[in-house]
């Protein structure tokens, strides 16, 4: 496990290389747009940016502030283009060619893209994956020392995207140690203590759904929280409805979550909601031998089965 302040290997040159790569992609028409990060409302914040013109590539950056996953923004862009094409009354020959979008992908984002392809949500040729090695996003919650990485980044084992069209900068060395140590530590607590921890943590939740919307894998057109026939859970910010929301979202993400941490970083109030996701990631890996985001062809774990699946818990 790498200690100390996250250090993007040769940060200046990685951002510069990224800009050059983007410029070439646009110039050679290998991509219609580039989705990346630009400096945001302060020196320590980054926001998504859509670059359409070579002259704008200077806006692109990559460093430890690049926290949001760009995958939801990729989906929005592709969707907006599709909607525009279908709405247009004057058939535009150019619009018929599907949009090719280049997207800057950290290791986790790259895995999310692979998982989306595996789930049939994205076609491989729609996206030009601009891989970057990521040394972790800074933990920007108040009280964090600034030296620390965000929780998911501290335990990250996939700093480089497994699939990419072009790789910018140097690959980052993979961390060592047990990525599930935090989960194991939590499991030492008795049932009542675990419940108390979750109750306390989720008491802060205001049901804004920033976590869900920031998640690269939450792409349902109609989320279960919005279903009314039947109404699965109440819409207030009280428990147990809030607990149910997080529990079911974790279940829906089981075997699909790549532990990018975008959900936890998105939370405006610092709720530590990703621990449950991490536990389910371990379960799927140990029980079904599946890790999300590594293969574009493998069937996602919860969509298939093996006759040999363990069933020691069945009566």
């Amino acid at each position: 496990m790498k200690a100390g302040k996250p250090q993007t290997p040769n940060p200046k040159s990685q951002s510069e290389q990224l800009r050059e790569t983007a410029r070439i992609l646009l110039k050679e028409k290998k991509a219609d747009l580039v989705i990346g990060y630009e400096r945001g409302s302060s020196k320590r914040r980054a926001r998504p940016v859509v670059i359409r013109d070579e002259k704008d590539v200077g806006r692109l950056i990559f460093d430890d502030t690049c926290g949001p996953s760009l995958v939801p923004f990729l989906r929005k862009t592709l969707r907006a283009a599709k909607d525009r094409n279908s709405k247009s009354q004057t058939p535009n020959p150019k619009a018929v060619t599907p949009l090719r979008v280049a997207v800057v992908a950290k290791g986790c984002d790259g895995r999310a893209l692979v998982q989306q392809i595996a789930e049939g949500q994205l076609k491989r040729d729609q996206v030009v994956i601009v891989g970057v090695g990521c040394d972790g996003i800074a933990d920007q919650r108040r009280g964090a020392s600034g030296e620390k990485r965000a929780a998911s980044c501290e335990r990250c084992r996939y700093p480089n995207p497994p699939v990419y069209d072009v790789f910018v900068g140097e690959p980052v060395e993979v961390g060592t140690g047990d990525e599930f140590a935090g989960v194991a530590e939590f499991e030492k607590l008795a049932s009542a203590e675990r419940w108390a921890w979750f109750e306390r943590e989720l008491a802060k939740c205001i049901r804004c759904y920033a976590c869900r919307n920031a998640c690269p894998m939450c792409y349902c057109e109609e989320c279960f929280v919005d279903q009314t026939k039947p109404l699965w859970l109440g819409k207030s910010a009280e428990r147990p409805d809030t607990t149910l929301f997080h529990l079911v979202r974790a279940l829906h993400s089981a075997g699909r979550c790549v532990d990018c941490g975008a959900c936890e970083r998105a939370c405006p109030l610092g709720v530590r909601l990703a621990l449950l996701n991490k536990r389910l990631e371990r379960e799927v890996r140990e029980r079904f031998g599946y890790t999300a985001g590594l293969s574009m062809e493998a069937t996602p774990a919860l969509a298939t089965y093996s006759e040999e699946d363990k069933q020691e818990f069945m009566l």
Partner: protein, 156 residues
């Protein structure tokens, strides 16, 4: 609370477990009366949200039962379900819902005796755990949960 009896809902697949329960009845096998049965076409039909809603609505325990692996009327429904059940059980126990509240079994159409044993076992486990309090949303729990709301500015 000495007169409290566990309320357990059982989702039974039509072709195996429901038939097995029926056989138990026809064979006059005695088993605890705490279980309310919901018949589903297949254990694979059981959405984990059914289990969670049951707990939220005040059931003290949930049983889901289907055909033995390999015997599913729809070939693979119970295999898919098995993966869902494992995941659900893990999630519930991780967040602190007591192990034993939600249980799963394979009971075939001919296993009347087994059905009775499963029900007895689950009822006993749930009785030992006491009435469900976590995840339950009753009018009472709503008021208890409202103490947070009080301090946040609600209530009164």
């Amino acid at each position: 609370m000495s007169d409290w009896e566990p309320k357990i809902v059982a989702f039974l697949c039509n072709w195996c477990s429901y038939a097995g329960a029926d056989l138990a009845g026809v064979s006059r096998i005695q088993y605890p009366p705490n279980v309310r049965v919901v018949r589903v076409p297949c254990s694979g039909r059981v959405n984990p949200l059914f289990v969670l809603k049951s707990l939220e609505n005040g059931f003290d325990g949930v049983l889901v039962s289907g055909c033995h692996p390999g015997d599913c009327h729809y070939i693979s429904g119970n295999y898919i379900a098995r993966r869902k059940f494992a995941t659900l059980k893990t999630a519930l126990e991780f967040i602190g819902v007591e192990p034993g509240r939600v249980q799963f079994s394979w009971v075939s159409a001919g296993e009347g005796e087994k059905f009775a044993q499963v029900v007895a076992r689950v009822t006993d486990d749930v009785r030992k755990l006491g009435p469900a309090k976590r995840l339950v949303k009753s009018a009472e729990a709503g008021r208890a949960g409202a103490t947070l709301q009080q301090s946040r500015g609600g209530g009164e």
